[in-house]
Symmetry: C2
Subunit: 128 residues, 2 copies
Amino acid sequence: MNIGQAAEASGVSAKMIRYYENIGLLPEAYRSASGYRKYSAADIHRLKFVRRARDFGFPMAQIVELLALWSDRARPSSEVKRIALAHMDELDAKIKHLRALQKSLKTLASHCHGDERPDCPILEELEH
Amino acid sequence: MNIGQAAEASGVSAKMIRYYENIGLLPEAYRSASGYRKYSAADIHRLKFVRRARDFGFPMAQIVELLALWSDRARPSSEVKRIALAHMDELDAKIKHLRALQKSLKTLASHCHGDERPDCPILEELEH
DNA sequence: ATAATCCTTCCCATCATGGGAAGGTCAAGG
DNA sequence: CCTTGACCTTCCCATGATGGGAAGGATTAT
């Protein structure tokens, strides 16, 4: 399978497949005589795995670890769980941050008339 | 005031002050005879405004608009409110997304033993 | 006068992704 | 057999907001 079909089948763009190979997330693909990258069903399987890990929001560094664990039959599931929990902590921190921002904004916006008058507590707050 | 003191006073790094000037967010700074950027109290005031808008998570494009409204005495507060509400919508969308990710992960992680055994529903889910 | 600190511009890196150019390859159809 | 179009290759550039650092000039303090 060429890279275009692999991209289609896995949901990872050809650009990203080359990029992943480049940064060492994926092993170097087998090449045809003319230099085309060739992908097997197992390769597609791995690409899908990466794709889904991205969908879950895992950063690349964690995906590297997850891929290693995935292909390690003797892995302890505690390692996988540890990565997942750490990621959840990251998500939690981000959510908390965004919610705090939203809360502040909400308060400000609720005090803003939102009409043709120029006075506005939002600008006043930014001005400080 | 030189750029270093302006950075200190405003909480915006010298690097970022130059960058903001470069992308047109801020007007070109007055220069001394030897080419040093010089900042007035009004400049510091504007830098602080930008800084606080960043703290609220506004993207640069919105900050450009907010700055323009800030210096427009005839602005309608509805314009400011519109920008703030749009930003809140963005934050809301991000929060929803992160919460959805977290919810999925939580379910998966709760089913993972997290011990020395290799079987793990997290990897199984990623594998699909 | 000299050293230390500040300033200038310019380049590079992040992270994951896409756009696009220049040029080689392959498959289908006339 | 040759052309055409679709595909592939590598390489460079851009994103957004930020920092690091180098090379060289300016200012300030000793």
